[in-house]
Every structure is written in structure tokens, then in C-alpha cells.
């Protein structure tokens, strides 16, 4: 494949701060503090220092709190790093995955040898869209809120509720099948000390949780948290001098603003992963059965199920059956969202949740997942999913294939 990034770079460190629901009495940290904290954890894991990134690369994800025209350079100033090249993530929940691809391309081109990638947000302290809040013009411009708020659209619950209703019209799907995804992610969260909701739930708990926007239930919805994540990516050569457990980027595929069908009347039950995933698998040279652990973008069970289909793990419309037929736990034949997902783990704002599938894939491939470790995991697939276009689904879709061997 032309311009393949296969094996060119590896992740050598990652960090995920403890999350906060910003309850009364909790210490309230700023976005900058979370960024520094996550970066410190990643540097510690890699055995590196911030000085290693002077003259190198720094990637910074957008955050709701960062309304400035040069946020990434501001973060460099706050961290006291003097990078040669900056990358700004601007693809919502696909930002982390997008920055990995940009970093890999820059490293392969010889612009830099390594990139520190950071992201944090504090949606509970500085919300983006919330009841009664005036909306900044740039925020409104990006989500077209003036054509949704006054009409009564209740944010992502409504937007995904509309996708799910349409899906259930076109294909067979039972609530129990989505419930199994929610129950499994909560089980994984119970094994992840950093997850925000750790008390296991039953299928009945799921089915009995109140409906917020039909058919979306409370236990379908991602909880917002304050928090930050980071990872460090280097050339493969450098990675091997830093760690005996590099996690290589084997493949990547990406598409933004994908239409399934016509631009006017696309099928909203299909995401751009039908394009991104095969691209990534081809680059990596892997088949579906080679994937030991699947870390989808997992803020709603329906989104997870659609990724199972659109990645090609099963046919379109057979996601429910696929869920029935597989054990989705870390011990099972198709481990999914082994960190508890965003669904039970928490989502640090609309742009930062996308770091979590990468962080967990790397954790699993390094064998550092403790109680929830997938035995013998050597290849993982991880998603970035960013934004919801007007009356459609999934603005940016990115698939990463990561592996502990090249």
C-alpha cells in the first residue's frame, strides 16, 4: 500500500488521570492541571522527561474549555516544552486517534522522532451545552445548535435515540442485546480502579432504568467526568530503545463526513467505519479473527453495536445476533471495552473520551490490565468517533490496529 504507516511508530507510554464527577468537596482541577497530570503519568510510564520533547512534537486535543486560536501553543507554554511541531486535535472523540495518525506521518517523514499527545477537559466545571447556558458562537457554528435547541433536540440522547429507532426499524434488535453490552462494560469497570461507576449491574437493572429519550435509557448514557489522558508515540527504532513493550501502530483508516448513500438521504444506520476499518485492516495485514481485543468508541451501546457491524465482525443488521453469540468479557471469545468503556468509565468531555480506547488497547497489549487482562492479547482494534452531523451519525470515524509485534 502506498504511504503505509505500518510499523513506523509505537506507543511507549500512556497516562489516564483519576476522573472526577466534581461533587461538592472534591478538589476541582483545571484543564491545564489535568493535562500536566496525564502527561506526567505517560512520561513516567515511558521513563522519559518533558525535556525529551523540546525540539520534538506536541499534540493537544481540543477541549470545550479551550476557546483560543492557538491552544496547542498555549499548552506548550504551560508545560514549558519547546516543540518543533504542534498537532491540534479537532475531531471530537476521534481527536486522539487522528493525532496518532498525524504524529505517525510526521515521524515517518522525519519531521520529528517523537510526539507527546495530551488531552483533558472539565465538562462538569465548564459545560459546553447545558440547560440555560448561553452558547458561544463557535460552539453553535460547529454543532448547528440553533437548528436543534429551539426545535427541542435533547443533545446526544435524542440524536442517538433517532439513530437507534431507525436501526430497530430496519433490522432486528432487542433491548436485551444492547443491555448485554451495558452489563459487560460495567463488569469491566468493576475491574478497573479508574472507572467512575464500578458497581456491577444486571440485565434487569438495564431494562428497568428509566427511558430518557426513547429508546435510550439512563444506562445507555455516558456519564461526563473531568479528567485527562496522554500517550507518547515515537519512531519504532526509538521505541525499542525506550521499552521492551512497544505497542506498534500496524494500521489506520479514517474518514470524516461519510455518507452511506446520497448526501440528501443517507442511511443513518451506517457509519464511516465501513470505510475506515477495512482500510486499517488492509494496512495492518490482519483479518477479523486476528483481533484479540476490540476497543470501540463506547459512549452508547448502540454505537458499539454499529461498530461491530461496520468493522465487518458480522453483517449489517446482525449485530444483535452477534452480541448474543459471543462472550464480550475479557475472558470471552470477543472481548469488548475491557476498561469499562466510556459508558461506565466516564467521558472527559466530547473530545477526550477518544483517548480511552487507545489507552486501554495499549494497556492490554503491554499485559498491564491486571484483573481484566485479556490473555495473550497481541493485536487490538481501537476506534475514534467524533461528532454527530445534523440528522445523521458519526462525523469522524477512525480505526486503529495496534500490536505488540510488527
Amino acid at each position: 500500500m502506498k504511504n503505509s504507516l505500518r510499523g513506523a511508530v509505537a506507543i511507549v507510554g500512556y497516562g489516564r488521570t483519576p476522573y472526577s464527577r466534581a461533587k461538592p468537596g472534591e478538589r476541582i482541577r483545571t484543564v491545564d492541571q489535568y493535562i500536566a497530570w496525564a502527561a506526567a503519568l505517560a512520561l513516567e510510564k515511558a521513563g522519559m522527561s518533558k525535556q525529551d520533547f523540546d525540539g520534538q512534537g506536541l499534540g493537544v486535543s481540543h477541549a470545550e474549555a479551550s476557546h483560543t486560536v492557538n491552544w496547542s501553543a498555549a499548552v506548550a507554554e504551560l508545560l514549558g516544552i519547546t516543540p518543533r511541531a504542534l498537532i491540534r486535535g479537532d475531531q471530537g472523540g476521534a481527536s486522539a486517534a487522528a493525532m496518532l495518525i498525524r504524529a505517525a506521518a510526521m515521524i515517518q517523514a522525519g519531521v520529528v522522532d517523537r510526539v507527546l499527545v495530551v488531552g483533558a477537559d472539565t465538562p462538569l466545571t465548564i459545560p459546553s451545552i447545558a440547560p440555560g447556558l448561553p452558547l458561544s458562537p463557535e460552539r453553535t457554528r460547529g454543532v448547528f445548535w440553533e437548528f436543534q435547541g429551539p426545535v427541542g433536540v435533547m443533545g446526544a440522547n435524542h440524536q442517538f435515540g433517532l439513530v437507534q429507532t431507525r436501526y430497530m426499524h430496519q433490522y432486528p434488535l432487542r433491548s436485551e442485546q444492547l443491555g448485554k453490552i451495558a452489563v459487560t462494560t460495567r463488569y469491566h469497570a468493576s475491574l478497573h480502579p479508574g472507572a467512575i461507576y464500578r458497581k456491577p449491574i444486571t440485565l434487569d437493572d438495564y431494562l428497568n432504568s428509566r427511558v430518557l429519550s426513547d429508546p435510550i435509557r439512563l444506562l445507555d448514557c455516558v456519564p461526563m467526568v473531568n479528567g485527562g489522558l496522554a500517550y507518547i508515540v515515537t519512531s519504532a527504532e526509538t521505541a525499542r530503545t525506550i521499552t521492551d513493550k512497544p505497542v506498534y501502530l500496524l494500521g489506520c483508516g479514517e474518514v470524516s463526513n461519510y455518507y452511506s448513500g446520497s448526501r440528501m438521504r443517507p442511511d443513518i444506520t451506517v457509519t464511516g467505519f465501513v470505510q475506515a476499518a477495512p482500510e486499517a485492516f488492509r494496512m495492518a495485514g490482519v483479518q477479523h479473527e486476528d483481533i484479540d481485543v476490540f476497543e470501540p468508541y463506547d459512549d452508547y451501546p448502540m454505537i458499539v453495536l454499529m461498530q461491530m457491524e461496520d468493522y465487518g465482525f458480522c453483517k449489517k443488521g446482525e449485530g444483535g445476533k452477534f452480541v448474543d453469540e459471543h462472550d464480550l468479557t475479557f475472558k470471552g471469545d470477543f472481548p469488548v471495552s475491557t476498561d469499562g468503556g466510556q459508558l461506565s468509565g466516564g467521558q472527559p468531555g466530547g473530545a477526550i473520551g477518544g483517548f480511552m480506547p487507545i489507552a486501554e488497547a495499549v494497556t492490554q497489549l503491554r499485559g498491564e490490565a491486571g484483573e481484566r487482562q485479556v490473555k495473550g492479547a497481541v493485536v487490538a482494534a481501537a476506534s475514534g468517533f467524533g461528532g454527530i452531523p445534523y440528522a445523521r451519525n458519526a462525523r469522524s470515524c477512525i480505526t486503529l490496529v495496534l500490536g505488540s509485534e510488527t
Binding site: 440555560g132 458562537p137 435547541g149 429551539p150 427541542g152 435533547m154 427511558v211 426513547d214 429508546p215 435510550i216
Partner: protein
Amino acid sequence: MSQTPQGKPVPELTDLTRPFWTAAKQGKLVMQKCSQCGTLDFLPKPWCIECGHLDLEWVEVKPLGTVYSHSTARTVMMNYPAWKNDLPFVMCIIELDDGPRMYGQLTGCPPEKVRIGMRVEAWFEAVSAEAAVAKFRPV
């Protein structure tokens, strides 16, 4: 977006979007039509999303369509609290007969009766001195 006296969000009008809102206030549904390839589109765009032509003309479209999907709001999330008074209400993606899709509330139909494919027509509810929103009801 500021708040109306009823505490619901109202749109901030720009030169790009004003024709849509003011037409709605006059009981008409208008959308942009590409003067080159004829594509109709919603919401307002800076050029034609099919051919990239900059010259888009506002034209009236038939206020008729079908329910493409629906989701009943039972709680207020990420929106203004005054919506509480309207709960539960049915939010839809409406597929207009003339082509484009749009979000719209379905009125005059209890949540348990709404179905994909249901025929609907637009009506307009004023939300400010300049603007109205399009809602839909079964025909």
C-alpha cells in the same frame, strides 16, 4: 441564542439563516436550492454540498413529508429547562417530499402512536418577533 420569555432557546439569525426563519414566521418552509445542479439542502450551507456551486437560491418546498425516525423526549437533557412543560414530546427526523431531512417535533400524535413512514405536514410556531420553528402533525 438568547432565551424567550417562555425560557426556550431562540435562534440567533444571521444573513445566511434569516430567510429560513422569517419564512417560517410567515408559514412557509423554504430551503436552499443550487442554481447550477438543482440540489435542495437543509440546514443552510455556504455552497452546494453536491457540486460546490456558490449561488444558492431560497425556494419554497412542500410542507409535506414522512417520519424517517422518532424519539420521545421524557426528560430535558442539554437544553433549556422550560422544555419540561412540554414533556413528553416526540422528536422526529422528517424526510420531506422534496428531498431534504430535518429535525422536527411531531404534535397531535401521542408517543405510542408515532410510526416510521407516517405522513406529516408542517405547521409553524412563532418563537420570536422574527422567527418561527417548523413542527409537524399527522395528515
